[in-house]
Protein backbone atom coordinates (compact mmCIF):
# COMPACT_ATOMS: atom_id res chain seq x y z
CA UNK A 1 0.00 0.00 0.00
CA UNK A 2 1.41 3.36 -0.96
CA UNK A 3 0.70 6.08 1.57
CA UNK A 4 2.15 8.98 -0.38
CA UNK A 5 0.59 11.85 -2.23
CA UNK A 6 2.71 11.06 -5.28
CA UNK A 7 0.71 7.90 -5.80
CA UNK A 8 -2.01 10.02 -7.34
CA UNK A 9 0.20 10.76 -10.30
CA UNK A 10 1.10 7.11 -10.70
CA UNK A 11 -2.49 5.96 -11.07
CA UNK A 12 -3.59 8.90 -13.16
CA UNK A 13 -6.94 10.70 -13.15
CA UNK A 14 -10.13 8.67 -13.56
CA UNK A 15 -13.21 9.87 -15.36
CA UNK A 16 -16.56 8.33 -16.15
CA UNK A 17 -19.07 8.74 -18.95
CA UNK A 18 -21.34 11.64 -18.01
CA UNK A 19 -24.44 9.47 -17.98
CA UNK A 20 -22.97 7.27 -15.28
CA UNK A 21 -22.73 10.21 -12.90
CA UNK A 22 -26.50 10.35 -12.90
CA UNK A 23 -27.46 6.74 -13.52
CA UNK A 24 -25.28 5.04 -10.92
CA UNK A 25 -26.55 7.07 -7.94
CA UNK A 26 -30.13 6.65 -9.14
CA UNK A 27 -29.59 2.93 -9.60
CA UNK A 28 -28.07 2.71 -6.13
CA UNK A 29 -31.09 4.46 -4.62
CA UNK A 30 -33.55 2.29 -6.55
CA UNK A 31 -31.80 -0.97 -5.71
CA UNK A 32 -31.51 0.04 -2.09
CA UNK A 33 -35.25 0.68 -1.96
CA UNK A 34 -36.23 -2.41 -3.94
CA UNK A 35 -33.90 -5.01 -2.45
CA UNK A 36 -34.64 -3.95 1.12
CA UNK A 37 -38.22 -4.94 0.43
CA UNK A 38 -37.38 -8.48 -0.64
CA UNK A 39 -34.22 -9.18 1.38
CA UNK A 40 -34.91 -8.61 5.03
CA UNK A 41 -31.38 -7.66 6.11
CA UNK A 42 -30.37 -5.74 3.01
CA UNK A 43 -30.84 -2.49 4.89
CA UNK A 44 -27.49 -3.21 6.56
CA UNK A 45 -25.91 -2.22 3.26
CA UNK A 46 -25.85 1.42 2.21
CA UNK A 47 -25.42 1.51 -1.56
CA UNK A 48 -25.67 5.33 -1.84
CA UNK A 49 -22.87 5.60 0.72
CA UNK A 50 -20.69 3.20 -1.26
CA UNK A 51 -21.29 5.15 -4.47
CA UNK A 52 -20.41 8.39 -2.69
CA UNK A 53 -17.18 6.91 -1.37
CA UNK A 54 -16.25 5.46 -4.74
CA UNK A 55 -16.71 8.72 -6.63
CA UNK A 56 -14.82 10.60 -3.95
CA UNK A 57 -11.80 8.34 -3.82
CA UNK A 58 -11.53 8.07 -7.59
CA UNK A 59 -12.12 11.74 -8.42
CA UNK A 60 -10.04 13.08 -5.53
CA UNK A 61 -11.81 16.43 -5.74
CA UNK A 62 -13.12 17.39 -2.29
CA UNK A 63 -15.46 20.08 -3.66
CA UNK A 64 -17.21 17.90 -6.19
CA UNK A 65 -17.22 14.97 -3.75
CA UNK A 66 -18.84 17.15 -1.11
CA UNK A 67 -21.53 18.34 -3.51
CA UNK A 68 -22.10 14.86 -4.88
CA UNK A 69 -22.40 13.48 -1.36
CA UNK A 70 -24.88 16.20 -0.41
CA UNK A 71 -27.06 15.57 -3.46
CA UNK A 72 -27.04 11.78 -3.04
CA UNK A 73 -27.74 12.15 0.67
CA UNK A 74 -30.66 14.52 0.15
CA UNK A 75 -32.08 12.14 -2.43
CA UNK A 76 -31.80 9.33 0.11
CA UNK A 77 -33.55 11.54 2.64
CA UNK A 78 -36.37 11.93 0.14
CA UNK A 79 -37.18 8.24 0.41
CA UNK A 80 -37.44 8.39 4.20
CA UNK A 81 -39.83 10.34 6.36
CA UNK A 82 -37.05 12.26 8.06
CA UNK A 83 -36.28 15.89 7.47
CA UNK A 84 -34.22 16.50 4.35
CA UNK A 85 -30.57 16.99 5.20
CA UNK A 86 -29.77 14.24 7.67
CA UNK A 87 -28.19 11.94 5.13
CA UNK A 88 -27.25 15.02 3.09
CA UNK A 89 -24.98 16.35 5.83
CA UNK A 90 -23.48 12.99 6.67
CA UNK A 91 -22.72 12.08 3.06
CA UNK A 92 -21.31 15.53 2.31
CA UNK A 93 -18.84 15.02 5.15
CA UNK A 94 -18.09 11.48 4.00
CA UNK A 95 -17.47 12.69 0.44
CA UNK A 96 -15.11 15.36 1.67
CA UNK A 97 -13.14 12.96 3.88
CA UNK A 98 -12.98 10.26 1.20
CA UNK A 99 -11.76 12.68 -1.45
CA UNK A 100 -9.15 14.05 0.95
CA UNK A 101 -8.00 10.52 1.69
CA UNK A 102 -7.92 9.74 -2.02
CA UNK A 103 -5.36 12.50 -2.47
CA UNK A 104 -3.05 11.03 0.12
CA UNK A 105 -3.69 7.30 -0.01
CA UNK A 106 -3.56 4.86 -2.90
CA UNK A 107 -7.17 3.84 -2.98
CA UNK A 108 -6.69 1.50 -5.92
CA UNK A 109 -5.65 -1.17 -3.50
CA UNK A 110 -8.42 -3.48 -2.34
CA UNK A 111 -7.10 -3.56 1.19
CA UNK A 112 -7.07 0.22 1.38
CA UNK A 113 -10.59 0.37 0.00
CA UNK A 114 -11.72 -2.14 2.59
CA UNK A 115 -10.31 -0.11 5.45
CA UNK A 116 -11.48 3.24 4.09
CA UNK A 117 -15.02 1.98 3.56
CA UNK A 118 -15.10 0.35 6.98
CA UNK A 119 -13.99 3.52 8.68
CA UNK A 120 -16.23 5.82 6.66
CA UNK A 121 -19.30 3.67 7.35
CA UNK A 122 -18.66 3.95 11.07
CA UNK A 123 -18.09 7.68 10.63
CA UNK A 124 -21.42 8.10 8.88
CA UNK A 125 -23.22 6.26 11.69
CA UNK A 126 -21.50 8.53 14.20
CA UNK A 127 -22.60 11.63 12.29
CA UNK A 128 -26.17 10.32 12.02
CA UNK A 129 -26.20 9.58 15.72
CA UNK A 130 -25.00 13.09 16.53
CA UNK A 131 -27.52 14.69 14.20
CA UNK A 132 -30.58 12.67 15.13
CA UNK A 133 -29.99 12.08 18.80
CA UNK A 134 -28.40 15.31 19.89
CA UNK A 135 -29.41 17.87 17.30
CA UNK A 136 -32.95 16.79 16.41
CA UNK A 137 -33.76 14.90 19.60
CA UNK A 138 -35.07 11.87 17.74
CA UNK A 139 -34.65 8.28 18.90
CA UNK A 140 -31.44 6.72 17.61
CA UNK A 141 -29.77 3.91 19.47
CA UNK A 142 -26.12 3.15 19.09
CA UNK A 143 -25.60 -0.61 19.13
CA UNK A 144 -21.82 -1.05 18.99
CA UNK A 145 -21.57 -4.61 17.72
CA UNK A 146 -24.32 -4.05 15.22
CA UNK A 147 -22.59 -1.00 13.80
CA UNK A 148 -19.27 -2.83 13.49
CA UNK A 149 -21.01 -5.67 11.64
CA UNK A 150 -22.71 -3.17 9.38
CA UNK A 151 -19.38 -1.47 8.63
CA UNK A 152 -17.73 -4.80 7.87
CA UNK A 153 -20.54 -5.85 5.54
CA UNK A 154 -20.44 -2.53 3.73
CA UNK A 155 -16.65 -2.77 3.39
CA UNK A 156 -16.89 -6.22 1.83
CA UNK A 157 -19.68 -5.26 -0.52
CA UNK A 158 -17.85 -2.06 -1.33
CA UNK A 159 -14.73 -3.88 -2.51
CA UNK A 160 -16.80 -5.92 -4.95
CA UNK A 161 -18.87 -2.95 -6.07
CA UNK A 162 -15.82 -0.77 -6.59
CA UNK A 163 -14.23 -3.45 -8.76
CA UNK A 164 -17.40 -3.51 -10.89
CA UNK A 165 -17.50 0.26 -11.18
CA UNK A 166 -13.81 0.27 -12.15
CA UNK A 167 -14.86 -1.43 -15.38
CA UNK A 168 -16.86 1.63 -16.41
CA UNK A 169 -14.17 4.26 -16.05
CA UNK A 170 -11.48 5.38 -18.38
CA UNK A 171 -8.03 6.48 -17.32
CA UNK A 172 -6.60 9.80 -18.48
CA UNK A 173 -2.87 10.35 -18.11
Amino acid sequence: MVLMASSRHEVGTKSFPLLLYVLVPLLALGLQSLLSLHLSRFDLIDLPLLVTIYYAITQREPVSATLAGAVIGIAQDGLTHHALGIFGISKAVIGYIAASLGVRVDTENHGARLLVTFGLTLTQTLILWLLQRHMLGQPFAWHGVHEVIRAAVNALVGVVLFALLDLTRRTEY
Binding site: S36, D43, V63, L79, H81, L84, P139
Partner: protein, 460 residues
Protein backbone atom coordinates in the same frame (compact mmCIF):
# COMPACT_ATOMS: atom_id res chain seq x y z
CA UNK B 1 -7.97 37.64 0.69
CA UNK B 2 -8.02 35.84 -2.60
CA UNK B 3 -5.34 33.49 -1.46
CA UNK B 4 -7.39 32.65 1.67
CA UNK B 5 -10.38 31.52 -0.38
CA UNK B 6 -8.27 29.63 -2.87
CA UNK B 7 -6.26 28.01 -0.10
CA UNK B 8 -9.24 26.91 1.97
CA UNK B 9 -11.61 26.47 -0.91
CA UNK B 10 -12.43 22.84 -0.12
CA UNK B 11 -13.09 23.44 3.54
CA UNK B 12 -15.15 26.56 2.81
CA UNK B 13 -17.30 24.68 0.34
CA UNK B 14 -17.84 21.95 2.90
CA UNK B 15 -18.79 24.48 5.56
CA UNK B 16 -21.15 26.26 3.19
CA UNK B 17 -22.86 23.02 2.20
CA UNK B 18 -23.21 21.91 5.80
CA UNK B 19 -24.48 25.29 6.92
CA UNK B 20 -27.09 25.39 4.21
CA UNK B 21 -28.35 21.96 5.16
CA UNK B 22 -28.36 22.70 8.87
CA UNK B 23 -30.47 25.78 8.23
CA UNK B 24 -32.78 23.70 6.06
CA UNK B 25 -33.05 21.14 8.84
CA UNK B 26 -33.80 23.81 11.38
CA UNK B 27 -36.59 25.22 9.22
CA UNK B 28 -38.15 21.79 8.76
CA UNK B 29 -37.89 20.82 12.41
CA UNK B 30 -39.24 24.15 13.58
CA UNK B 31 -42.59 23.56 11.92
CA UNK B 32 -45.29 23.02 14.56
CA UNK B 33 -46.82 20.11 12.67
CA UNK B 34 -43.72 18.00 12.11
CA UNK B 35 -45.63 14.76 11.82
CA UNK B 36 -47.87 16.05 9.07
CA UNK B 37 -46.90 15.66 5.43
CA UNK B 38 -44.31 18.02 4.01
CA UNK B 39 -45.15 21.13 2.03
CA UNK B 40 -43.46 23.43 -0.41
CA UNK B 41 -39.88 22.79 -1.47
CA UNK B 42 -39.36 19.75 0.74
CA UNK B 43 -42.38 18.06 -0.77
CA UNK B 44 -41.13 18.95 -4.24
CA UNK B 45 -37.74 17.34 -3.61
CA UNK B 46 -39.35 14.23 -2.17
CA UNK B 47 -41.67 14.08 -5.16
CA UNK B 48 -38.72 14.28 -7.58
CA UNK B 49 -36.85 11.53 -5.77
CA UNK B 50 -39.85 9.22 -5.47
CA UNK B 51 -40.90 9.77 -9.06
CA UNK B 52 -37.35 9.04 -10.23
CA UNK B 53 -36.99 5.87 -8.23
CA UNK B 54 -40.42 4.26 -8.42
CA UNK B 55 -40.83 3.66 -12.19
CA UNK B 56 -38.01 1.09 -12.35
CA UNK B 57 -39.30 -0.39 -9.11
CA UNK B 58 -42.76 -0.77 -10.63
CA UNK B 59 -41.19 -2.44 -13.63
CA UNK B 60 -39.18 -4.93 -11.60
CA UNK B 61 -42.15 -5.57 -9.36
CA UNK B 62 -44.32 -6.25 -12.39
CA UNK B 63 -41.79 -8.71 -13.77
CA UNK B 64 -41.58 -10.58 -10.47
CA UNK B 65 -45.33 -10.67 -10.12
CA UNK B 66 -45.76 -11.98 -13.66
CA UNK B 67 -43.31 -14.79 -13.06
CA UNK B 68 -44.95 -15.73 -9.78
CA UNK B 69 -48.39 -15.51 -11.37
CA UNK B 70 -47.38 -17.82 -14.18
CA UNK B 71 -46.05 -20.33 -11.68
CA UNK B 72 -49.08 -20.26 -9.43
CA UNK B 73 -51.64 -20.31 -12.27
CA UNK B 74 -50.25 -23.12 -14.38
CA UNK B 75 -47.80 -25.17 -12.37
CA UNK B 76 -48.60 -25.12 -8.70
CA UNK B 77 -52.09 -26.69 -8.88
CA UNK B 78 -51.27 -30.03 -7.32
CA UNK B 79 -52.96 -29.73 -3.97
CA UNK B 80 -55.82 -27.50 -4.97
CA UNK B 81 -58.56 -30.09 -4.39
CA UNK B 82 -57.34 -31.00 -0.95
CA UNK B 83 -56.84 -27.37 -0.12
CA UNK B 84 -60.35 -26.61 -1.29
CA UNK B 85 -61.77 -29.29 1.00
CA UNK B 86 -59.84 -27.94 3.96
CA UNK B 87 -61.00 -24.43 3.20
CA UNK B 88 -64.60 -25.60 2.98
CA UNK B 89 -64.44 -27.21 6.40
CA UNK B 90 -62.77 -24.14 7.80
CA UNK B 91 -65.50 -22.01 6.27
CA UNK B 92 -68.13 -24.11 8.05
CA UNK B 93 -66.28 -23.73 11.30
CA UNK B 94 -66.02 -20.00 10.85
CA UNK B 95 -69.72 -19.76 10.09
CA UNK B 96 -70.51 -21.43 13.38
CA UNK B 97 -68.17 -19.08 15.17
CA UNK B 98 -69.71 -16.12 13.41
CA UNK B 99 -73.15 -17.28 14.44
CA UNK B 100 -72.13 -17.36 18.06
CA UNK B 101 -70.64 -13.90 17.77
CA UNK B 102 -73.45 -12.34 15.78
CA UNK B 103 -75.76 -11.90 18.73
CA UNK B 104 -72.95 -10.43 20.80
CA UNK B 105 -72.20 -8.02 17.98
CA UNK B 106 -75.80 -6.88 17.81
CA UNK B 107 -75.94 -6.45 21.53
CA UNK B 108 -72.73 -4.47 21.42
CA UNK B 109 -74.19 -2.23 18.74
CA UNK B 110 -77.26 -1.55 20.81
CA UNK B 111 -75.19 -0.73 23.86
CA UNK B 112 -72.93 1.52 21.84
CA UNK B 113 -75.94 3.30 20.42
CA UNK B 114 -77.26 3.77 23.94
CA UNK B 115 -73.95 5.20 25.06
CA UNK B 116 -73.59 7.39 22.00
CA UNK B 117 -70.33 5.65 21.10
CA UNK B 118 -69.31 6.15 17.50
CA UNK B 119 -68.04 2.90 16.01
CA UNK B 120 -65.94 3.19 12.85
CA UNK B 121 -66.73 0.70 10.14
CA UNK B 122 -64.57 0.20 7.08
CA UNK B 123 -66.60 1.21 4.03
CA UNK B 124 -64.04 1.35 1.26
CA UNK B 125 -60.47 0.23 0.76
CA UNK B 126 -57.92 0.59 -2.02
CA UNK B 127 -55.65 -2.36 -2.72
CA UNK B 128 -52.06 -1.35 -3.33
CA UNK B 129 -48.81 -3.08 -4.17
CA UNK B 130 -45.74 -2.42 -2.05
CA UNK B 131 -43.02 -1.45 -4.50
CA UNK B 132 -40.21 -0.25 -2.26
CA UNK B 133 -38.92 0.84 1.09
CA UNK B 134 -36.84 3.70 2.42
CA UNK B 135 -33.86 1.35 2.35
CA UNK B 136 -32.52 2.39 5.74
CA UNK B 137 -32.82 0.98 9.23
CA UNK B 138 -33.58 4.36 10.67
CA UNK B 139 -36.76 4.91 8.69
CA UNK B 140 -39.44 2.23 8.45
CA UNK B 141 -41.25 3.58 5.42
CA UNK B 142 -42.89 1.71 2.54
CA UNK B 143 -43.66 2.94 -0.95
CA UNK B 144 -46.97 1.83 -2.46
CA UNK B 145 -48.19 2.22 -6.01
CA UNK B 146 -51.36 4.16 -5.21
CA UNK B 147 -51.52 7.90 -4.76
CA UNK B 148 -53.83 10.88 -4.67
CA UNK B 149 -55.38 9.96 -8.01
CA UNK B 150 -56.58 6.71 -6.45
CA UNK B 151 -58.23 8.46 -3.53
CA UNK B 152 -55.40 8.07 -1.06
CA UNK B 153 -54.83 10.92 1.37
CA UNK B 154 -52.36 11.48 4.21
CA UNK B 155 -53.02 9.75 7.56
CA UNK B 156 -55.12 6.94 6.15
CA UNK B 157 -54.73 3.56 7.85
CA UNK B 158 -52.98 0.83 5.90
CA UNK B 159 -53.77 -2.77 6.77
CA UNK B 160 -53.48 -6.34 5.60
CA UNK B 161 -55.96 -9.12 6.35
CA UNK B 162 -53.62 -10.14 9.18
CA UNK B 163 -53.31 -6.79 10.91
CA UNK B 164 -52.44 -3.15 10.65
CA UNK B 165 -49.31 -2.00 8.81
CA UNK B 166 -49.16 1.74 9.33
CA UNK B 167 -50.54 4.96 7.95
CA UNK B 168 -49.99 6.99 4.82
CA UNK B 169 -47.71 9.97 5.18
CA UNK B 170 -46.63 11.80 2.03
CA UNK B 171 -49.01 11.15 -0.85
CA UNK B 172 -48.00 11.86 -4.41
CA UNK B 173 -49.99 11.43 -7.61
CA UNK B 174 -49.29 7.74 -8.19
CA UNK B 175 -47.24 6.83 -5.15
CA UNK B 176 -47.55 7.12 -1.40
CA UNK B 177 -45.29 6.72 1.57
CA UNK B 178 -46.54 4.49 4.39
CA UNK B 179 -45.07 4.95 7.85
CA UNK B 180 -44.99 1.52 9.48
CA UNK B 181 -46.03 0.90 13.07
CA UNK B 182 -42.50 -0.37 13.69
CA UNK B 183 -41.00 3.09 13.20
CA UNK B 184 -39.83 4.92 16.28
CA UNK B 185 -41.75 8.06 15.34
CA UNK B 186 -45.06 6.34 14.62
CA UNK B 187 -47.91 6.06 17.07
CA UNK B 188 -51.10 4.04 17.35
CA UNK B 189 -53.65 3.70 20.12
CA UNK B 190 -53.93 0.06 21.15
CA UNK B 191 -55.63 -2.05 23.78
CA UNK B 192 -54.80 -5.47 25.18
CA UNK B 193 -57.69 -7.79 24.41
CA UNK B 194 -58.06 -9.58 27.77
CA UNK B 195 -56.68 -7.20 30.33
CA UNK B 196 -58.14 -4.15 28.53
CA UNK B 197 -54.99 -2.16 29.23
CA UNK B 198 -54.63 0.76 26.84
CA UNK B 199 -51.43 2.27 25.56
CA UNK B 200 -49.56 3.86 22.69
CA UNK B 201 -47.75 1.65 20.22
CA UNK B 202 -44.57 2.70 18.47
CA UNK B 203 -41.39 1.07 17.21
CA UNK B 204 -38.28 0.65 19.30
CA UNK B 205 -34.76 1.31 18.05
CA UNK B 206 -34.58 -2.23 16.62
CA UNK B 207 -37.78 -1.78 14.68
CA UNK B 208 -40.05 -3.90 16.87
CA UNK B 209 -43.38 -2.38 17.90
CA UNK B 210 -43.82 -1.82 21.62
CA UNK B 211 -46.48 -0.38 23.89
CA UNK B 212 -44.72 2.27 25.88
CA UNK B 213 -45.17 3.50 29.44
CA UNK B 214 -47.44 0.75 30.73
CA UNK B 215 -47.95 0.23 34.44
CA UNK B 216 -46.55 -3.15 35.51
CA UNK B 217 -49.30 -5.74 35.58
CA UNK B 218 -48.85 -9.46 36.15
CA UNK B 219 -51.89 -10.23 34.02
CA UNK B 220 -50.05 -9.23 30.85
CA UNK B 221 -48.98 -12.56 29.43
CA UNK B 222 -47.11 -13.54 26.32
CA UNK B 223 -49.46 -14.31 23.46
CA UNK B 224 -52.23 -11.93 24.45
CA UNK B 225 -53.80 -10.24 21.47
CA UNK B 226 -53.31 -6.53 20.90
CA UNK B 227 -56.02 -4.60 19.07
CA UNK B 228 -56.42 -1.03 17.92
CA UNK B 229 -58.37 1.03 20.43
CA UNK B 230 -59.61 3.66 18.02
CA UNK B 231 -58.37 6.41 20.31
CA UNK B 232 -55.93 7.83 17.78
CA UNK B 233 -58.68 8.80 15.31
CA UNK B 234 -56.76 7.06 12.52
CA UNK B 235 -57.14 3.31 12.92
CA UNK B 236 -60.67 1.92 13.29
CA UNK B 237 -61.27 0.16 16.58
CA UNK B 238 -60.76 -3.58 16.88
CA UNK B 239 -58.21 -4.22 14.15
CA UNK B 240 -55.58 -6.79 14.98
CA UNK B 241 -52.15 -5.38 15.78
CA UNK B 242 -50.26 -8.42 17.04
CA UNK B 243 -49.50 -10.44 20.11
CA UNK B 244 -47.61 -9.65 23.28
CA UNK B 245 -44.04 -10.87 22.92
CA UNK B 246 -42.55 -9.91 26.26
CA UNK B 247 -42.57 -7.23 28.89
CA UNK B 248 -39.44 -5.13 29.32
CA UNK B 249 -38.93 -2.80 32.28
CA UNK B 250 -37.81 0.67 31.41
CA UNK B 251 -34.23 1.51 32.41
CA UNK B 252 -35.39 4.46 34.44
CA UNK B 253 -38.68 4.70 36.25
CA UNK B 254 -41.18 2.08 37.30
CA UNK B 255 -43.09 1.66 34.06
CA UNK B 256 -42.65 -1.12 31.55
CA UNK B 257 -42.75 -1.46 27.77
CA UNK B 258 -44.69 -4.32 26.21
CA UNK B 259 -42.99 -5.64 23.10
CA UNK B 260 -45.47 -6.72 20.44
CA UNK B 261 -45.01 -9.22 17.65
CA UNK B 262 -46.92 -7.66 14.75
CA UNK B 263 -49.70 -9.73 13.21
CA UNK B 264 -48.82 -8.53 9.72
CA UNK B 265 -45.44 -9.65 8.48
CA UNK B 266 -43.91 -6.21 8.07
CA UNK B 267 -40.72 -7.51 6.51
CA UNK B 268 -42.53 -9.42 3.75
CA UNK B 269 -45.30 -7.17 2.55
CA UNK B 270 -46.48 -7.35 -1.02
CA UNK B 271 -50.06 -6.14 -1.00
CA UNK B 272 -51.80 -3.86 1.44
CA UNK B 273 -55.19 -2.20 1.78
CA UNK B 274 -55.57 1.52 2.32
CA UNK B 275 -58.78 2.34 4.20
CA UNK B 276 -60.11 5.34 2.34
CA UNK B 277 -63.62 5.62 3.80
CA UNK B 278 -65.03 4.79 7.20
CA UNK B 279 -68.42 5.44 8.74
CA UNK B 280 -70.45 5.13 11.89
CA UNK B 281 -73.12 2.78 10.53
CA UNK B 282 -72.54 -0.88 9.82
CA UNK B 283 -72.47 -1.25 6.03
CA UNK B 284 -75.52 -2.93 4.49
CA UNK B 285 -73.29 -5.62 3.03
CA UNK B 286 -71.93 -6.47 6.46
CA UNK B 287 -75.42 -6.59 7.94
CA UNK B 288 -76.49 -8.94 5.17
CA UNK B 289 -73.45 -11.11 5.81
CA UNK B 290 -74.32 -11.24 9.49
CA UNK B 291 -77.87 -12.35 8.74
CA UNK B 292 -76.70 -14.89 6.19
CA UNK B 293 -74.14 -16.24 8.61
CA UNK B 294 -76.83 -16.97 11.19
CA UNK B 295 -78.93 -18.78 8.62
CA UNK B 296 -76.03 -20.77 7.19
CA UNK B 297 -74.64 -21.60 10.61
CA UNK B 298 -77.95 -23.12 11.67
CA UNK B 299 -77.91 -25.21 8.52
CA UNK B 300 -74.40 -26.41 9.25
CA UNK B 301 -75.42 -27.24 12.80
CA UNK B 302 -78.45 -29.17 11.59
CA UNK B 303 -76.24 -31.24 9.31
CA UNK B 304 -73.63 -31.97 11.91
CA UNK B 305 -75.58 -32.54 15.10
CA UNK B 306 -76.80 -36.12 15.75
CA UNK B 307 -80.44 -36.61 14.89
CA UNK B 308 -83.01 -38.75 16.64
CA UNK B 309 -84.08 -40.01 13.27
CA UNK B 310 -82.24 -42.93 11.84
CA UNK B 311 -81.96 -42.56 8.08
CA UNK B 312 -81.90 -46.37 7.73
CA UNK B 313 -85.29 -46.89 9.36
CA UNK B 314 -88.62 -46.48 7.58
CA UNK B 315 -90.51 -43.29 8.15
CA UNK B 316 -93.16 -44.80 10.47
CA UNK B 317 -90.49 -46.12 12.85
CA UNK B 318 -88.66 -42.86 13.23
CA UNK B 319 -88.51 -41.25 16.64
CA UNK B 320 -89.86 -38.00 15.28
CA UNK B 321 -92.73 -39.02 13.12
CA UNK B 322 -94.04 -36.24 10.97
CA UNK B 323 -97.65 -35.37 11.64
CA UNK B 324 -100.28 -36.44 9.24
CA UNK B 325 -100.67 -34.17 6.31
CA UNK B 326 -97.30 -32.64 6.76
CA UNK B 327 -94.71 -32.58 4.08
CA UNK B 328 -92.16 -35.31 4.42
CA UNK B 329 -89.20 -33.02 4.03
CA UNK B 330 -90.33 -30.54 6.63
CA UNK B 331 -89.12 -31.20 10.14
CA UNK B 332 -91.42 -30.46 13.04
CA UNK B 333 -90.53 -27.43 15.08
CA UNK B 334 -88.70 -27.91 18.31
CA UNK B 335 -91.03 -27.32 21.22
CA UNK B 336 -90.03 -26.63 24.76
CA UNK B 337 -91.42 -29.09 27.30
CA UNK B 338 -94.69 -28.39 29.00
CA UNK B 339 -94.39 -26.51 32.23
CA UNK B 340 -95.00 -28.74 35.25
CA UNK B 341 -96.47 -25.89 37.21
CA UNK B 342 -98.10 -23.12 35.22
CA UNK B 343 -96.87 -19.95 36.72
CA UNK B 344 -98.14 -16.47 36.99
CA UNK B 345 -95.59 -15.12 34.59
CA UNK B 346 -96.32 -17.15 31.51
CA UNK B 347 -97.00 -14.53 28.87
CA UNK B 348 -100.23 -16.07 27.61
CA UNK B 349 -101.64 -16.37 31.12
CA UNK B 350 -101.78 -12.66 31.53
CA UNK B 351 -105.11 -11.20 30.45
CA UNK B 352 -105.29 -8.31 28.11
CA UNK B 353 -105.04 -4.96 29.75
CA UNK B 354 -108.39 -3.93 28.28
CA UNK B 355 -110.12 -6.71 30.23
CA UNK B 356 -108.70 -5.85 33.59
CA UNK B 357 -110.78 -3.95 36.11
CA UNK B 358 -109.00 -1.96 38.76
CA UNK B 359 -109.27 -3.64 42.13
CA UNK B 360 -110.84 -6.82 40.79
CA UNK B 361 -109.15 -10.15 41.50
CA UNK B 362 -108.02 -11.93 38.40
CA UNK B 363 -109.66 -15.30 37.86
CA UNK B 364 -109.79 -17.67 34.96
CA UNK B 365 -111.61 -20.81 33.94
CA UNK B 366 -108.81 -23.06 34.97
CA UNK B 367 -108.65 -21.43 38.33
CA UNK B 368 -112.40 -21.77 38.73
CA UNK B 369 -112.33 -25.41 37.66
CA UNK B 370 -109.52 -26.07 40.02
CA UNK B 371 -111.47 -24.43 42.83
CA UNK B 372 -114.53 -26.51 42.06
CA UNK B 373 -112.52 -29.70 41.95
CA UNK B 374 -110.78 -28.77 45.13
CA UNK B 375 -114.10 -28.39 46.91
CA UNK B 376 -115.53 -31.74 45.73
CA UNK B 377 -112.49 -33.95 46.10
CA UNK B 378 -110.15 -34.63 48.94
CA UNK B 379 -107.23 -32.33 49.11
CA UNK B 380 -104.44 -33.39 46.87
CA UNK B 381 -101.13 -31.76 46.13
CA UNK B 382 -102.20 -28.90 43.97
CA UNK B 383 -99.99 -27.30 41.42
CA UNK B 384 -99.29 -23.67 41.98
CA UNK B 385 -101.62 -22.37 39.36
CA UNK B 386 -102.21 -18.90 38.30
CA UNK B 387 -104.77 -17.38 40.61
CA UNK B 388 -106.75 -16.31 37.65
CA UNK B 389 -106.70 -15.62 33.97
CA UNK B 390 -109.47 -14.42 31.80
CA UNK B 391 -111.68 -16.94 30.07
CA UNK B 392 -110.54 -15.62 26.80
CA UNK B 393 -107.12 -16.99 27.54
CA UNK B 394 -108.16 -20.33 28.84
CA UNK B 395 -107.31 -21.97 25.58
CA UNK B 396 -103.80 -20.72 25.79
CA UNK B 397 -103.16 -22.55 29.02
CA UNK B 398 -105.33 -25.55 28.32
CA UNK B 399 -103.60 -28.82 27.61
CA UNK B 400 -102.78 -29.06 23.97
CA UNK B 401 -104.33 -31.72 21.82
CA UNK B 402 -102.03 -34.57 21.08
CA UNK B 403 -100.35 -34.47 17.79
CA UNK B 404 -100.77 -30.80 17.58
CA UNK B 405 -98.05 -29.27 15.54
CA UNK B 406 -98.94 -25.93 16.92
CA UNK B 407 -96.51 -23.67 18.59
CA UNK B 408 -95.02 -23.96 21.94
CA UNK B 409 -96.36 -22.69 25.18
CA UNK B 410 -97.79 -19.33 24.77
CA UNK B 411 -98.85 -19.73 21.17
CA UNK B 412 -102.26 -20.01 19.69
CA UNK B 413 -103.21 -23.67 19.77
CA UNK B 414 -103.68 -25.33 16.45
CA UNK B 415 -105.79 -28.35 15.64
CA UNK B 416 -104.26 -31.71 15.02
CA UNK B 417 -103.01 -32.31 11.60
CA UNK B 418 -101.93 -28.82 11.00
CA UNK B 419 -98.84 -28.56 8.89
CA UNK B 420 -95.82 -27.63 10.89
CA UNK B 421 -94.02 -24.48 10.10
CA UNK B 422 -90.98 -24.79 7.89
CA UNK B 423 -87.72 -25.03 9.73
CA UNK B 424 -85.88 -21.83 10.40
CA UNK B 425 -88.85 -19.72 9.50
CA UNK B 426 -90.39 -17.57 12.20
CA UNK B 427 -93.97 -18.43 12.87
CA UNK B 428 -96.54 -15.87 11.94
CA UNK B 429 -99.35 -15.55 14.48
CA UNK B 430 -101.50 -13.67 12.02
CA UNK B 431 -101.95 -16.44 9.50
CA UNK B 432 -103.35 -19.90 9.71
CA UNK B 433 -101.51 -22.87 8.28
CA UNK B 434 -103.78 -22.73 5.27
CA UNK B 435 -102.74 -19.24 4.67
CA UNK B 436 -106.03 -17.71 5.74
CA UNK B 437 -105.92 -14.70 7.94
CA UNK B 438 -106.58 -15.76 11.46
CA UNK B 439 -109.14 -14.08 13.59
CA UNK B 440 -107.30 -11.72 15.84
CA UNK B 441 -107.29 -13.27 19.27
CA UNK B 442 -108.51 -11.32 22.20
CA UNK B 443 -105.08 -11.52 23.66
CA UNK B 444 -102.62 -11.80 20.81
CA UNK B 445 -99.81 -14.06 21.86
CA UNK B 446 -96.23 -13.26 21.00
CA UNK B 447 -94.84 -14.79 17.82
CA UNK B 448 -93.95 -18.43 18.12
CA UNK B 449 -90.29 -19.06 18.07
CA UNK B 450 -87.99 -21.98 18.08
CA UNK B 451 -84.60 -22.18 19.74
CA UNK B 452 -83.02 -22.15 16.33
CA UNK B 453 -84.65 -18.89 15.48
CA UNK B 454 -84.37 -16.33 18.17
CA UNK B 455 -86.86 -13.56 17.83
CA UNK B 456 -85.63 -10.57 15.92
CA UNK B 457 -84.59 -7.98 18.40
CA UNK B 458 -85.25 -4.44 17.68
CA UNK B 459 -82.53 -1.95 17.93
CA UNK B 460 -82.21 0.09 21.00
Amino acid sequence: MESFFSRYRNALVLIAVLLAQVIGLAVQVRRPDQDSPDKGGVRLIRSWVVNSVTPPERFFHWIGKSIRGTWSNYVDLIHIRKQNKNLQSELDRLRLEEDSLAEDARQGQRLQALLGFKEKYVYQTVAAQVIGTSGTEQSHVLLIDKGSEDGVKPDMPVITPDGIVGKTRDVFRHTSQVLEISDATSGAGVILEKTRIRGVLRGDTWGQPEIINVSPDERIQKGESVLTSGGDAIYPRGLSVGMVDRVVPQPEGTLVNVLVKPAANLSRLEEVLVITTTGNQMPAEMQQDLSDAEQKASDVLAERLPSRNDPNLPADQQADKPPEGADADVLPPVRPPQALHPDHYTPSDTPAATELVPGQKITNAEGAAASAQESSTPPTPKPATNPGTSPANSAATAPKPSGSAGGSAGTTPKPAGTAPKPKAKPASPATTPAGQPATPPTNPPPPATTPQNPPPQGGA
